[in-house]
């Protein structure tokens, strides 16, 4: 293990985090929330000292890096970033319990949106901003940001590939252009563009700048922290529709946007994952509208609520405009299924990912055919091209890890004594980075009731879900830390 280089990476990431706290502090200063300003100052001080120490102690290392280090580095970065990112909540006294504060920021960075705060209105504005901004930073990934702004050492810097692979979601991560730095820049450029567009559209709907920015962070990062107690319910239908559209956009693989800009429309519209993703959204909305019948006053309202809820669940955002807990069982079942499937690979959303669903189903079909024609040689194809067997193996391994992790966490948090639905949906909502689940953790409730131990379990679930299990799993493997 190249500990020094990992240390330097983590140091740099913490430095980025400290810099990003500055706007939050300025907002608090502007609003004259001096308690929050002090909290931010202290936090930034601590982070800068830690990061400076790390960078100083780990200077002058070799620039060699392998897959193992890349994964462990991403896992550790996210852990430490969260550990120090929760300091403003804790120091300012907004969240007096440290584990609660940790839970809240992990929920932010992993774009989950599960909260332990019963009421957010009236909290200091700077704290609210930091809470929403954590979604934005976590959505595209902080390492990708680091790759976009700084050059990674030396002649042989192909190792950055390991970092991109570990942080970007999806079974088959690749670069858009030959240079890693340019790839990362293109991704962030698209991301910023979407955010700005969202802010503009929200402000056209009479939102204040602060509200629009915070909501846009939650939407584009597919996070789900609201700035009102009832999430999005009290905003106008126009604003809710804008959110629906942007959530759906951000659940699309960002390389599709790049291809659109490159005017390669054909390959985008033929993309099987995009078709499945959009098909699932349209199908679910139609079925839910049919199932709801005259639950709401008008058909328009039914469609609006159905579309919003479907979008918020499949992109794993976790806003709410209505309490879907009151919906009939079939609609809730659809939402639960969407929770597991999740958004597209290479998007800001979480979940199992549409492309993995495609791969798993296709290899299942191949296995069934193999029973009928045992000698048949056939490849699993995606977008017309045969998929590498290694990718299939990894996808199946991911499925196994996913199921195991969900089951184990479910068992662990069941100790607290809540109902099966509550516990299972809580685990699913955290692991898939959604936020609200059903019953006790439904859209109108929150996670405050769980014990400290359960919160820690759910917190690890969120990290594992965002980083797709392996970067977290590798931290607990003994062979990782053993000397070669």
């Amino acid at each position: 293990m190249n500990y020094k280089m990992m240390g330097r990476f983590i140091g740099r990431i913490l430095m980025v985090e400290a810099v990003f706290m500055v706007p939050a502090m300025l907002i608090s200063l502007w609003e004259k929330e001096f308690g929050a300003v002090r909290a931010f100052m202290w936090s930034m001080g601590i982070i800068v000292v830690v990061s400076g120490l790390l960078m100083f102690l780990c200077r002058g290392s070799r620039n060699r890096f392998f897959a193992k280090e890349g994964m462990a580095c991403v896992g550790l970065s996210w852990f430490f970033m969260s550990l120090l990112g929760c300091l403003p909540f804790y120091i300012s006294g907004v969240i007096p319990d440290f584990v609660d504060a940790f839970f809240e920021i992990v929920s932010g960075f992993t774009t989950t949106g599960a909260s332990i705060l019963p009421a957010v209105e009236g909290l200091p504005k700077g704290i609210l901003y930091w809470r929403s901004f954590s979604h934005w930073l976590g959505g595209m990934g902080v390492l990708v940001f680091l790759l976009a702004i700084s050059s990674m050492g030396g002649r042989e810097n192909g190792f950055t590939m390991h970092l991109l692979r570990a942080e970007s979601p999806g079974p088959n991560v690749g670069k858009l252009v030959p240079k890693m730095k340019k790839t990362a820049r293109i991704l962030y450029l698209l991301y910023v563009l979407l955010t700005v567009l969202d802010v503009v559209f929200l402000m056209l709907g009479d939102m204040s700048l602060f509200e629009a920015v915070c909501t846009a962070f939650g939407t584009v990062g597919t996070g789900g922290f609201g700035i009102r107690n009832d999430s999005m319910a009290s905003f106008s239908p126009y604003i809710q529709n804008v959110c629906t559209v942007f959530m759906i956009l951000c659940g699309v693989n960002f390389s599709c946007f790049y291809l659109l800009l490159m005017k390669e429309f054909k390959s985008v519209f033929k993309d099987e994952e995009l078709r499945l993703y959009l098909g699932l959204i349209v199908g679910s909305v139609v079925l839910i509208v049919w199932n709801l019948g005259d639950f709401y006053a008008s058909l328009g309202e039914t469609i609006r609520h159905a579309a919003f809820q479907v979008a918020t669940i499949i992109t794993t955002t976790g806003f709410a405009t209505t309490d879907y807990e009151l919906w009939p069982g079939f609609s809730k079942a659809i939402l639960l299924s969407l929770m597991i499937i999740g958004a597209s690979a290479g998007s800001t959303g979480g979940g199992f990912k549409c492309s993995r669903v495609l791969l798993v189903l296709k290899s299942l079909r191949r296995s069934v055919r193999k029973i009928v024609h045992p000698q048949k040689v056939q490849a699993v194809r995606l977008n017309g091209l045969p998929v590498d067997e290694k990718v299939l193996q990894n996808t199946n391994a991911y499925l196994a890890a996913y199921v195991t992790a969900v089951l184990v966490s479910f068992l662990l948090i069941s100790v607290d004594g809540y109902s099966i639905t509550t516990n299972l949906s809580a685990v699913l909502a955290c692991f898939n980075n959604i936020g609200p689940g059903f019953e006790m953790v439904g859209p109108t409730c929150n996670f405050a009731a769980y014990s400290t131990f359960s919160k820690l379990v759910l917190l690890m679930d969120m990290l594992a879900g965002r980083l797709e299990i392996f970067p977290i799993l590798i931290l607990f493997s003994r062979t990782t830390w053993r000397h070669r």
Binding site: G158, P178, K179, K182
Partner: protein
């Protein structure tokens, strides 16, 4: 600059290593996905899996926006087809093809026009030419030529018997009695830019700038045996051997080739009427003794196995062959060979890569850029040729008054008629050719970059 490299084999990988250090946008194409994955994880490049001569794959690799295509697969025909196709898809693209079949060598020039190639490279032939040049002046480990062959940087190894051993550079002129300049010393695997008080030690490899006319005198004064090479033994009958034998035949040197494969021997006999072809295993020492290895003036080990070449060279050295040349095909880093006395080491891969990197640099900026670049001292230092023009700073200022960056040395100044190994009072004028040796990693692209 956007560059596509077709073929990620031995050559392609070496080229990727060099060009990615130059900061170009590289896309690699290969039909073997495993080598692609390892390249992608090692260098900052994009990879495309498939046949590089197919239009579909070339388009996927972005041939329309690319500035240069380098076809480096093992098959000449694929390389040529690849370049032609690329040129058809984008008529502004520059193309470099590797063409190494001896049957095409004579027509290489004609093919360049026919297939619209910018350059055809032949690593094996290049290696053969290099070896022939070394054989002309036995005693130098390596020769790099500038200004169309008038100035050279030669590599010498200081052993215990050498007259320069334990001599400071300031006192060197009394021994060599000609104007030369030591521009770099490789000691313990590290390149050093030496000052006047630098004392040479046993085991150092020194890099000396001299005009070509001086070389014979330099060797004579150093006491290195300089009798003409009359008989050369080549181990291995591959393509390098063939090209080399052809060149040596031309200059009347007797050639003995030892080749294991009987069919290849028959082929070689047909192609090389004057050489004596011996069928047998070169690793068999009795065979070497029988063929009179100790009576050879020089020996070149050119088999396809680096390990075997190294062993054979050591054996040749032990038997008193005065000049031994070892071909290494795979080893990137000659440092690890340490002080094994392998004689001169020639790497076809390295030579060819240098040619291509020079081409790429020339393409990148036409004005003020280095005309030629040679990497010396195991790639740790670079010798560059610049043309001073009106935009060059400090024209006419004596070198001793200039503040040059650390690790930069002006080793040669010349115009059409005058050639000068510079000392502190020398200066350059607009229109002069200036040679600079540097062991800096980056930052010297133009002549003006050498000033502090």
């Amino acid at each position: 600059m956007k560059i596509i490299i077709a073929g990620d084999g031995k050559m392609g990988a070496a080229l990727t290593r060099k060009l990615s250090a130059e900061g170009d946008d590289l896309t690699l194409i290969d039909s073997n996905s495993e080598v692609l994955v390892s390249s992608e994880e090692r260098y900052d490049v994009m990879v495309v899996h498939g046949n590089c001569a197919s239009m579909h794959i070339l388009l996927q690799a972005g041939v329309k926006e690319a500035d240069l295509l380098i076809a480096m697969t093992g098959a000449d025909e694929v390389n040529l087809l690849c370049c032609m196709t690329a040129h058809g898809l984008n008529e502004n693209i520059h193309t470099i093809a590797r063409v190494c079949n001896p049957e095409y060598t004579d027509q290489a020039y004609a093919m360049r026009d026919m297939f619209a190639l910018s350059m055809a490279v032949n690593p094996e032939r290049q290696a053969a030419v290099e070896i022939e040049r070394l054989l002309k002046y036995p005693g130098f480990l390596k020769r790099d030529t500038f200004t169309k062959g008038r100035v050279e940087i030669v590599e010498l190894r200081i052993d215990g018997k050498n007259k320069l051993c334990n001599v400071a550079l300031n006192d060197m002129y009394g021994i060599v009695k000609c104007k030369i300049l030591v521009c770099a010393v490789l000691r313990g695997g590290k390149a050093v830019a030496p000052g006047g008080n630098f004392v040479l030690r046993e085991g150092d490899r020194i890099f000396v700038t001299a005009s070509t006319d001086m070389l014979a005198m330099l060797l004579k004064n150093l006491g290195v045996i300089t009798h003409k090479v009359k008989r050369v033994m080549l181990c291995g009958g591959g393509r390098v051997s063939y090209y080399l034998a052809k060149l040596l035949e031309g200059s009347g040197i007797g050639v003995q080739i030892i080749e294991r494969n009987p069919e290849r021997c028959v082929q070689l006999t047909a192609m090389l009427p004057k050489a004596s072809i011996i069928q047998g295993d070169a690793s068999n020492q009795i065979l070497l003794d029988q063929e009179g290895i100790s009576g050879c003036d020089a020996m070149a080990t050119l088999t396809g196995l680096d390990e075997l070449n190294m062993i054979l060279s050591l054996y040749g050295m032990n038997n008193g062959v005065s000049q031994v040349i070892t071909k290494l095909g795979h080893i990137d880093n000659a440092n690890i060979l340490g002080n094994l006395s392998l004689g001169s080491v020639v790497s076809p891969k390295e030579l060819c890569c240098n040619t291509i990197v020079q081409y790429v640099r020339a393409m990148k900026n036409q004005t003020g850029a280095a005309l030629t670049v040679h990497s010396i001292a195991d790639g740790q230092a670079e010798a560059m040729e610049f043309l001073a023009d009106d935009t060059t700073k400090n024209c006419g200022v004596p070198l001793k008054n200039l503040k040059l960056k650390k690790g930069v040395l002006v080793v040669y100044i010349g115009d059409g008629a005058r050639m000068e190994i510079p000392n502190g009072d020398s200066s350059f004028r607009s229109g002069d050719t200036v040679y600079v040796v540097t062991n800096r990693e980056k930052g010297i692209c133009q002549l003006n970059d050498i000033f502090e």
